[in-house]
Amino acid sequence: MSVVNISMGQLVTSIAGRDETQVYLVVGIKNNKVLLLANGRERKMANPKGKNIRHVNVLKSIAKGVAAKLQSGMKITDEEIRQAIQDLYKPENL
């Protein structure tokens, strides 16, 4: 059974739970099952939200700058996360 193709820095929206419709960036993936999500506001880099991979809608956009920094182990600020979401999250992504 195949898995959803999700990369670091991918833009996702929550489709289940109290945070439904909330937009996040993927900042970590645990065993192809649980995503670590941050939006730089309620969920900051210091405390990303763990969420089941099936409880998000995967959008087509990836924050490439954020992804590159995460992969090289560099620190990302919440401001960068907020900015990336603002740049990427447009209705035509849906």
Binding site: M1, S2, V3, V4, N5, N31, N32, K33, N52, V58
Partner: protein, 248 residues
Amino acid sequence: MIILKSEREINYLRDAGRIVAETLVEVKKAAKPGVTTLDLDRIAEEYIKGHGAIPAFKGYHGFQGNICSSINEEVVHGIPGLRKLKSGDNVSIDIGAVINGYNGDAAITVPVGEVDAQVQKLLDVTEESLYKGIEQAIIGNRLSDISHAVQVHAEQHGFGVVRDYVGHGIGRSMHEDPQVPNYGDPGRGPRLKAGMTLAIEPMVNLGTYEVKTLDDGWTVVTLDGKRSAHFEHSIAITDGKPEILTKL
């Protein structure tokens, strides 16, 4: 984190893989016009449970079937139901089984009755692309060498390679790291090592590679409604050639 398996663990994966392969043979035999996908699901359930294993998909994130059965334009994750197969259809059967805590996962796409030459070609090329990918699963290569080989073969024939769903590592969990895409440039990603166990699974479309998910939350279909095929093997990377765990 990619979990490397010991020889003992690979033995357990062989057991699980063998049951999956045998179940696929049984289901393939039964995939004839007039049979429902739920009938196929029952055959698989009986075979898997009859051999001391547990169907891996049932209840996985709430999935209702023991198998995934995807007909024609359905790419993957079709839920078995009362739809009857008819001549000319192609049905993809994806099966997972757990025994001794280890998973096997494999898929085939079967022509039902007589299918168009174009559909038969799609099935042949998809299966060939799986083997092209497996050939690259050798020590020293990188993960995306597998992905690239699959993509090149399928696209040479003018088919679309699905991007939104990918293969995966396999072991005590059905889905482990890494993700195994069926597209991409060669020479990227982690270097392959002995003891890595992967499920490689090209999903190839007659038309566009784009897909969407139906309202049931599971069934993935092609965006243009054209046919799709899916073949999968679980493999282990060894010191020599890759070992296919789900082949009889």
